[in-house]
Amino acid sequence: MSTAPGNPPNGAIATENLCRHYRMGETLIRAVDGVSLEVRAGEFVALLGSSGSGKSSVLNLIAGLDRPTSGSVVVQGKDLARLSREELAKYRLHVVGMVFQSFNLIASMTLAENVELPLRFAEVDRGKRASLAQAALERVGLKARMNHRPSELSGGEQQRAALARALINRPQLLLADEPTGNLDSHTGTEIMDLLREFNERLGMTVVMVTHERALAERYARRMIFLADGKLIDDRVNVPTTAAAEVSGVQR
């Protein structure tokens, strides 16, 4: 594994002139076009932009699901562009936890099985797996439903299960792609509260993609705006609603 110069602190992300171009027939689509940004460990960052702005593409590049056309993504001192496919899979398994707008639970598996799936890839022993999965589901308040299949649950419950799955390998980085996009505002708030809890209690770095500015303003400490694959604004945000209460807890 290659190490980028400077070796930023644990959990931190640094992209340098990051580009992801697609070719669609004759036209070249510049989904990400020269984005340079830095995320410090323990930050809660919102990536904002309208659809097609490239925010999801940036998230996929950080998640190691995609490779940049040019530029670099350095996470925990590793340049993802230079990792082999196998190393990238290990990175996704151990460093990153991910939640999606459409939950992406495997329909044929129960919640417990879904949650413990990353542990199977990590070759964790069977007995240990069950207790870890149970603990993770307990943390998101779904222990009672661990033997249900995703289709038997509400959207909010499914997303909570997805969060439990993202947590199971204790990643430093939690990447969320429109996590509340398919939820009503009440359950959306529940999910966001969980994200904030993970960020604050577990010290996970959270990068959330959303097109809802209000949501970002309520939870994120920093807002990065993208348009047409380019970074157009990067500003510090003081979380609104729960800010006082959260800071109160911290003090």
Binding site: A63, D66, A89, R92, L93, N104, I106, L117, R120
Partner: protein
């Protein structure tokens, strides 16, 4: 991923689309079943053939003859054997010498002569030959009614089925079904036959004949020899008890079984029956030593036949064995097995296309699932292994079911054929065999074929781009 996890996930995935995967697995089973049925038939036929031929004593027997007796030789021997004049005389001394060769079990003379047998005062002219006691275990007498000779010197006879018919005055009608051996044997067993034969008796003045050296290289002709002949021919009678009626076709075999009436060997030897060779050999052999037209040599193992043949040839005799025939039979069965195997495998080849199809369909269906697994940390090889495991599980399941099915089909065919054979009053036989290695081989082969079939789908699944796969609804 660990193998138990892989197996568990693979089986779970197979259960998810139960109908499709069951159909694919049944396809494999049918393929394996046809392979097993075909090969077990080939193996069974081969085993039956070698069992029969082995027991018939043809593959471990060398027939030795002197070059002097040209009639008993095939054309090939005439071309490459020693010149007739240089050949040794096949007498008792030579027989004993042959018997002492390594790997030789026994060497017994072939005694065969044509003589008259009387049954209920009716004369019948026929070929009589002598059988050593070792023929008791011979497959040739499997279908025999009655029993084998009680001893090697007992005045007993075993009749050929056709001769039994003759004795009973039943001439087979054209087109009529063959009479049952048991029906023929019933009125004959225990009855008496009187054999009238010509005995060769050495006269007291025969000493002149012994002057002729044993290894004489002389080119003396039969005419010369006849001048020194010193024996008389006496007409004798011997009573024989019929102990068995055999179901053997006299023309089907070479050697001593080509006769219609069989006598115990030692009895036949003691009778000193005039044999056709006597006329020509007598002058050269020691008069009190019998001379044989041919001697059958039984070898310990068929693999030793060649060595024994070579040793006997060195002694100056010509030999014949059907080793070459057995080689070509083996080749035939090998070719048969290959053909049966290829035909059997065809169904498996079709089934393997079914596996490819099923797995490619599964990839399309589970594209999103593959994307999810990759997003949460599955490596290419995890995904590949999972599809391999699914293919392999279908292969092993199909293999197990297929072996059982093939076994059943074979049993059924065997049973059905035996019912038919029995209805034709032929002995039932097991011409179908599933050795344990065929079971292991069939399952491994099914597994291997499935893995090969899974190669392309698994590779395709592993290469899926997770971003694209996750976008897929």
């Amino acid at each position: 991923m660990k193998i138990p996890d892989l197996t568990e996930l693979a089986l779970r995935n197979l259960r998810e689309s139960l109908l499709r995967n069951s159909l694919t697995t049944i396809g494999i089973s049918v393929g394996v079943a046809s392979l097993v049925a075909m090969l077990s038939l080939g193996i069974g036929l081969q085993q039956m053939a070698s069992r029969r031929l082995g027991k018939s004593g043809l593959f471990d027997t060398v027939i030795v003859s002197s070059r002097r007796d040209l009639r008993s030789m095939g054309r090939e021997e005439e071309r490459n054997g020693p010149a007739p004049g240089e050949s040794r005389i096949l007498d008792e001394a030579a027989r004993q010498e042959i018997e002492r060769l390594p790997n030789v079990l026994e060497a017994y003379p072939d005694i065969r002569f044509i003589t008259e047998l009387r049954y209920e005062d009716m004369p019948h002219l026929t070929t009589v030959s002598a059988m050593p006691a070792s023929y008791k275990s011979n497959d040739a007498f499997d279908g025999m009614q009655g029993s084998y000779f009680s001893s090697d010197t007992a005045p007993e006879a075993i009749l050929q089925k056709s001769f039994a018919e003759e004795l009973l005055g039943k001439t087979p009608k054209l087109g009529a079904p063959d009479p049952n051996v048991a029906d023929l044997a019933a009125p004959l067993l225990g009855k008496e036959l009187v054999m009238r034969y010509a005995q060769r008796e050495t006269t007291s003045s025969s000493q002149a004949a012994s002057a002729s050296p044993l290894s004489s290289p002389s080119s003396s002709s039969a005419a010369e020899g006849l001048a020194g002949a010193a024996y008389s021919v006496v007409s004798r009678e011997q009573k024989l008890k019929i102990v068995g009626v055999s179901d053997l076709d006299p023309e089907s075999m070479r050697g001593p079984t080509r006769a219609k009436v069989f006598l115990p060997l030692k009895l036949a030897e003691s009778l000193h029956v005039m044999q056709p060779t006597d006329l020509r050999e007598v002058s050269r052999a020691a008069s009190d030593q019998p001379v044989y037209s041919s001697v059958s040599v039984r070898v310990t193992k068929p693999s030793q036949v060649q060595k024994v043949e070579d040793a006997i040839k060195k002694m100056g005799f010509t030999t014949f064995s059907i080793l070459d025939a057995s080689r070509s039979i083996q080749t035939f069965f090998r070719v048969l097995d290959v053909f049966l195997g290829i035909f059997g495998s065809l169904a498996l080849a079709v089934a393997s296309i079914g596996i490819v199809n099923t797995l490619v369909m599964a990839i399309l269906e589970r594209r999103r699932e593959i994307g999810i697994m990759k997003a949460i940390g599955a490596s290419d090889s995890d995904v590949k292994k999972l599809f391999f495991a699914e293919a392999g599980a279908m292969g092993i399941l199909g293999g197990l079911v297929g072996v059982a099915l093939g076994w059943g089909i074979g049993r059924l065919i065997n049973a059905g054929t035996n019912v038919y054979l029995r209805s034709q009053s032929l002995p039932a036989d097991n011409f179908w065999a599933v050795p344990w290695w065929l079971v292991v081989f069939a399952i491994c082969f099914a597994f291997l074929v499935s893995l090969i079939s899974g190669l392309y789908p698994a590779g395709r699944a592993a290469r899926l781009d997770p971003v694209q796969a996750l976008r897929y609804e």
